[in-house]
């Protein structure tokens, strides 16, 4: 399926879980065995799609109202700048309703045990973004790489020092020297060859 190209959806997850011996959560059985948070995730499963359905409807309605305020077209034959937004927002509301009645089991949250890790990676990424302009590319990337490796569970001091330096410098020279891209500079960049 075309969408299978990028969606590591429920089915693929199940296979990989089955292969790695982890309990498969997405089955419509009354009891979900093998997980200490089974109650928690099963509620989240059905709710997930419903929440999305409501969110979609809200977005649709908001977009609709917003688009009603768009100006009239300059030429009378032009459907106008509001035409497509109105159409899509209406479509979204309809789809939201359809989804509400078609909600299926799905695990929206990271698997139990890795929630902290995933959340930390996201936070680290956002912090990294703001650090870029604050302290420059090199310092920001070094910090992020160290944080990232720690989050992924690497504890060896050698790796925690060498890998970030290697990756940071490699990417820095690759983008600035070889590709001519301007990267935000801070304290360190002035000292580099």
């Amino acid at each position: 399926m075309m969408s299978a190209d990028e969606s590591t959806g429920v089915n693929e997850r199940c296979d990989e879980h089955a292969a790695s011996g982890q309990p498969v959560q997405e089955h419509s059985q009354p009891e979900v065995p093998g997980s200490e948070e089974s109650g928690d995730t099963r509620v989240a499963s059905i709710l997930g799609d419903r929440v999305v359905a409501i969110a979609i409807m809200v977005i649709g309605i908001a977009l609709f109202i917003y688009a009603l305020g768009f100006p009239q077209p300059g030429q009378p034959e032009d459907p106008g700048t509001a035409a497509l937004p109105l159409l899509i927002s209406g479509f979204l509301v309809v789809l939201g309703v359809m989804l509400l009645f078609n909600a299926e089991l799905g695990l929206f949250l990271p698997e139990p045990g890795t929630r902290l890790r995933t959340a930390l990676v996201v936070v680290a990424g956002v912090v990294y973004t703001f650090l870029l302009t604050a302290v420059g590319f090199v310092l920001a990337t070094l910090s992020f790489m160290v944080a990232g490796l720690l989050i992924m569970g690497i504890r060896s001091p050698l790796r925690l020092v060498l890998v970030p330096i290697a990756v940071t410098l490699a990417v820095y020279y690759l983008f600035t020297a070889a590709l001519g891209v301007y990267l935000p500079s801070g304290a360190i960049e002035g000292m580099l060859p």
Binding site: T8, G9, L92, R117, V121
Partner: protein, 504 residues
């Protein structure tokens, strides 16, 4: 003929050829790693092409594309887990052969079939594209609109799982595409006063975040090292063996190319269809599913031919043939080039350089893949996932920033990554979203211009080309509804059928 000369001339450049080999090398490693599909690889490395000449950049990405699509079969065969979704059809027979001690043979079939399929696909691409491009020169806004609409409905018909989710994904894509200045009236929509959003959501950061970084977030949960467990095996390719395997390869190539041409549909579907056709034509030989070389040959050649087929609408019409082609459109627009009939006329050296280069990719891929199988397996196993994924994030951040030296784009990238993460987890296909982003503007401006040109009447819908496309659109909507009525029968291996039964 002269265009070919121009193309070959452009190709015979050290930078271009170096990029070709580099691309294939990167592609093979990227494709075999779980979580990094061809699309992710191409999206992530796209920013590298900013500083390259257009042809060199395209060839690099095509090398990655071709290499990655092929290499997805390596883990599919060895450990039953496809490296890219298009290799899912190879899993059953490929892994069965591994269990029978014929893993290396399966890998070699995969290389041969992939390269045959890809090469044939490129030949067909090069042959048919000029005619289509010339035909499309006569396309007006009305035809463009209908074409975009048709492509959008096709996405809906082939969405995996619930059609509703695919449609939601597409609708979100259309909504995202509306952000920015309206092209006809110049009115800023959904920009909320932000100057950064005036030209719309930056496509490349959106894509990198949606596909690459969201996958990084998902993979953070795994962090398991890849162990391919390839055993030593003696295998020689004999002419008799070739005679057995090549016909399926040719069949797969043909089917794959044709399906790939359909906008929005690409290698993954064509490999399943080719597999099933190959099985049907051998009267359902009982070996299928248990290690039938012809099954692998058909699936592999189809998926690679489909890759080339997907480039047909992409290059000739500017309509993405599959998800990765949508990404490739981004690579061209960055250089100020707009894929479509005008590019055929205006940059023949680029177009024919791409054709020749893409064909060369498969020759290089064959040499590297056939003779270096063991080496690849060891290289792929050596990649440490714990270091890989943070590095992916760094590349993504830098790549997104590099587009217009704007931190805002990096934030867009992360927002897209979170969105992609939630969508993937919830079973919402990502492909319709990005296709919606690409096709939305084409559809809208086509419709509005057509209305303006025809003074507000809908008569343009009855002109020959729009009419034919309109009928096709209705047909594909009908197909989508029909398909949704039946229990979703995915063209998958039996394991996925079992899971599907339990879920629905």
């Amino acid at each position: 003929m002269s265009e070919w000369m121009e193309g070959l001339n452009a190709l015979a450049d050290v930078q271009v050829l170096a990029m070709l080999v580099l691309g294939v090398l990167i592609g093979i490693v990227v494709g075999a790693l779980p979580g990094i599909s061809a699309t992710v690889g191409v999206a992530l490395l796209l920013p590298f092409t900013f500083a390259l000449e257009p042809l060199a950049g395209m060839i690099l990405l095509l090398g990655i594309y071709g290499g990655a699509v092929y290499a997805g079969s390596i883990p599919a065969i060895l450990i039953r887990s496809p490296g890219t979704p298009a290799s899912a059809a190879t899993v059953a027979d490929g892994h069965a052969m591994t269990l029978q001690g014929k893993g290396v043979q399966a890998l070699k079939i995969s290389v041969l079939a992939s390269c045959v399929g890809g090469f044939v696909g490129v030949l067909l691409l090069a042959f048919f594209s000029p005619f289509i491009a010339e035909f499309a020169l006569g396309f007006g806004s009305s035809a463009n609109f209908m074409l975009a609409l048709f492509a959008l409905t096709v996405i809906a018909s082939v969405s995996e799982g619930r059609m509703v989710k695919g449609l939601i994904s597409g609708a979100l894509g259309l909504a995202i595409a509306m952000i920015g200045l309206d092209t006809i009236q110049g009115f800023p929509r959904l920009t909320f006063g932000s100057a950064d959003l005036l030209s719309g959501v930056s496509f490349i950061p959106l894509m990198i975040g949606l596909f690459a970084v969201s996958e990084a977030f998902i993979q953070v949960e795994r962090a398991a090292k890849l162990n391919l467990r390839m055993k030593r095996e003696k295998f020689r390719a004999t002419p008799a063996w070739l005679r057995k395997v090549l016909p399926s390869g040719m069949l797969g190539s043909g089917i794959g190319f044709i399906i790939g041409v359909i906008p929005g549909v690409g290698g993954d579907i064509s490999s399943f269809v080719a597999y099933n056709e190959s099985k049907r034509l051998t009267r359902g030989s009982s070996q299928y599913g248990k290690g039938e070389p012809r099954g692998i040959a058909a699936a592999e050649s189809a998926k690679n031919a489909g890759t080339a087929g997907a480039l047909v609408p992409t290059l000739t019409l500017g309509i993405p043939g599959d998800v990765t082609s949508a990404v490739l459109i981004g690579a061209l627009t960055v250089h100020g080039l707009q894929p479509g009939p005008s590019m055929f006329a205006g940059s023949p050296d680029l177009i024919y350089g791409v054709f020749a280069g893409f064909a060369l990719v498969y020759i290089v891929l064959f040499l590297l893949g056939w003779f270096g199988t063991g080496l690849w397996v060891r290289t792929i196993e050596a990649v440490p996932p714990k270091i890989l994924w943070p590095t992916v994030v760094v590349l993504a951040v830098v790549g997104s920033y590099a587009v217009r030296s704007n931190i805002f784009d990096v934030l867009i990238m992360f927002a897209a990554a979170v969105l992609g993460y939630i969508m993937s987890k919830g079973g919402y296909p990502l492909a319709p979203l990005i296709i919606g982003v690409v096709l939305g503007p084409i559809a809208e401006s086509g419709f509005r211009r057509a209305m303006i040109i025809h003074n507000g009447s809908f008569v343009w819908m009855l002109e020959p080309i729009p009419l034919v496309l309109g009928v096709l659109t209705l047909a594909s909507i009908g197909f989508a509804i029909w398909r949704a009525r039946k229990k979703p029968v995915l063209l998958t291996s039996s394991e996925e059928d079992k899971v599907e039964d339990k879920v629905s």
